[in-house]
Amino acid sequence: MKAGIVPIHVWLPEAHPVAPSHISALMSGVMLKVALYGLIRFCFDLIDKVQWEWGVVLLIIGTVSALGGILYAMMQPNLKRLLAYSSVENIGIIFMVLGLAMIFLDNGHPDLAALGFLAALFHAFNHALFKNLLFLGAGMIQQQTHELNIDMLGGLIKKMPQTSMVFLVGCMSISSLPLFNGFVSEWLAFQTALQVDVLDNGVLRSLIPVSAAALALTAALAAACFVKVFGLTFLGVPRSRHSEKAHEVKDKGMLAATTLLASLCFLVGIFPSVIISLINRVSSQLLAHTLPNESVLSWLWIAPVSHEQASYSPPLVLSGALIAGCVCYWYLRRDPAKAIRIAPTWDCGFGGLTPRMQYTSSAFTMPIRRIFAKAWIIDEQVNKDMQGAMNQDVAAVHYALHIQDHSWPWLYQPLEREVNNLAKQVGRIQTGNIRTYLGYSFVTLLLLLWVIS
């Protein structure tokens, strides 16, 4: 529960945003991991033998949390609430991979279990990095614009160039794009899931790839979600006066801290083997097993199982990207006569583009809202004000959208009612009559005496 697993996650997006940003960064980055630490300690350390059934349970819980977390996150217009929901998603991913590790461990493949364990811990580490970065970035935005509603922001990339740069790095890591750290751990998770062929149980072998596909869906939705966040916050035209008047953060310390985190995100994405070998030591202590013997880990390559099965070399990829990018940049920009001409945005010939014509958060996520409609409780209302002679001209249109979690009415409200009822029952005990209270003490005394004897 402390980890914020769907359906008992609702406290998390309520609690994290109200704290100041640096505290919510700590809450998301560190506090959630304490629960994880407890789970790992309990399952892998305290108990002698892990049952694979628990692994399946963890896998399913993790899948639900990951998907649910990111779907709820998509619908949030509030930046910090969105980030808090995305923590739910990331914890879900970690649970999934831990579940895989348990399944492999009990089925007699400790080296693959070590791989899953490693992927989970690495993702936890990465999540701490980029979620801290994003929360601090959100704090900087809030400080400068006094806004956290991304429908009110926009165009900040020109006002706050450095903040936007570090925030972009955070968004790219959390969307698990290659060259950044989030991708490496997700890649390891996929590699773990693809080793299911060694299992004997046919149902497990078909269940695990399905959950891997759910992981893919989660990653793709996360990318869509953070395109929304970055695109609406930093790009486009300012949507409010505050965001128009924003300027770069003055405090050097704030910038330095976020820049440090961003460069760590990038460096870990390029040279993941440093961290991987660190975590490998943990798994050798805890599981008494490390990665498979054939696996290759050097600064240039990571090949978790063997070189034939899968390999990934971020430095090579980075150099390839740099070469390709520079060549076409240099080739196309060589002629100074073809410098860029700045012109107004095309407005279809009608004139008067206003910032309000831009896509908003709820507009951006509308297709997804419609496709996964069952995941939320959606209350969508369109009211038209009519006027004119026949009362047929539309004067104004009001649009209201309320999106709610399923777990409030299904889990929490019944629980709340029950507790209230119980409290009323208990309340009857308190009569106010002193003799009754004496009677209680007497009965308790008798009971205790009976128990002792």
Partner: protein, 314 residues
């Protein structure tokens, strides 16, 4: 030597992509009783665009100007991973098929951001739709890919293709499903009919085109080229995984030339099939795409189940 061939192969990829687009257009024109432009027309278009002065909106930021270069190089990187004429090249070991999907996501991320950058409604519309479709397509794609990788027990494309070659002709039900799933996903991801119409002029029906509405000059050329490259990439992926015969396994000039001929032939046939399909099928509504991609996912799932049930049961 190996690196040289790898670079040569990537260059070939980049150079041949407009040719495939031209050939596809020619087939479509022929089927629709129209007079077809030359097969080389896409090259001329690209040249024309690079020679023009680009116009950029005054609202645009640096991201808008840099995005085409990022998109283009990410797509080239994805291309360098896929074996075109030869297997066992060093570039294909640097990244596997999951990383390739990652590169596509990378390019798409920046394309969608660029669509949002100018602050028009069309750009936002395109970005929103593109991200929706791609997030539905990704699980279907990975399901198909998992089927293949579980059969070959590797995610490295080059090794997977060698594995299929070694086994000779084996009728695998799972491959049939994975093939169809991958074709459906490829159509959705490259923005062809019935998911998106690359030649549409109506902004409201656009997906990919709506995002790049503000681009012009060399920026537009790069993005167009990247999307042609992506089309070719999916074609090569389908052709070389399911019908790898002809691809060079050694680096002799003869084998390489043979591999080149084989892949050109295979791509030409695939393009004809795509042209016929695009002529016969109408573009569907945006909210039908989920059913379409759901079907692709189902095919991928069936492929994987039949791999587990029919082919590798114990």
């Amino acid at each position: 030597m190996n690196w040289l061939i790898a670079i040569l192969q990537t260059t070939l990829f980049v150079a041949l992509a407009p040719l495939l687009a031209g050939w596809l257009k020619r087939c479509k024109c022929y089927l629709q009783n129209r007079k077809a432009p030359s097969v080389l027309q896409p090259y001329r278009d690209l040249l024309k665009l690079t020679n023009k002065q680009p116009v950029v909106s005054e609202q645009a930021s640096w991201l808008f100007i840099k995005a085409p270069y990022i998109i283009f190089s990410a797509t080239i990187l994805a291309a360098s991973v896929v074996p075109l004429i030869a297997v066992d090249l060093p570039t294909s070991a640097s990244a596997d098929v999951i990383v390739m999907v990652g590169f596509f996501a990378f390019a798409r991320f920046f394309l969608a951001l660029a669509g949002l950058d100018v602050g028009t409604a069309f750009g936002g519309m395109g970005s929103s739709r593109e991200m929706t479709i791609s997030s539905l397509a990704e699980p279907a794609m990975l399901m198909a890919v998992f089927t293949i990788t579980m059969t070959a027990s590797t995610t490295n494309l080059s090794w997977a293709i060698s594995h299929v070659l070694e086994q000779g002709l084996v009728l695998r039900p799972s491959f049939v499903f994975a093939l169809f799933a991958l074709i459906l996903v490829a159509v959705a991801e490259t923005g062809r009919i019935p998911v998106d119409n690359p030649t549409t002029h109506l902004e409201l029906t656009m997906i990919h085109e709506a995002m790049i509405l503000e681009y012009s000059g060399r920026h537009l050329a790069l993005i167009e080229w990247a999307s042609q490259l992506k089309l070719m990439l999916y074609g090569v992926l389908i052709a070389n995984i399911f019908l790898p015969w002809g691809i060079a396994q050694s680096f002799t000039p003869q084998a390489l030339g043979y591999g080149l001929l084989a892949i050109i032939g295979k791509l030409a046939v695939l393009a004809i099939i795509l042209a016929i399909a695009e002529t016969l099928v109408a573009k569907m509504r945006l909210f039908r795409v989920q059913e379409y991609l759901g079907f692709a996912y189902l095919l991928g799932l069936l492929g994987m189940l039949s791999h587990i049930i029919l082919e590798a049961s114990r």
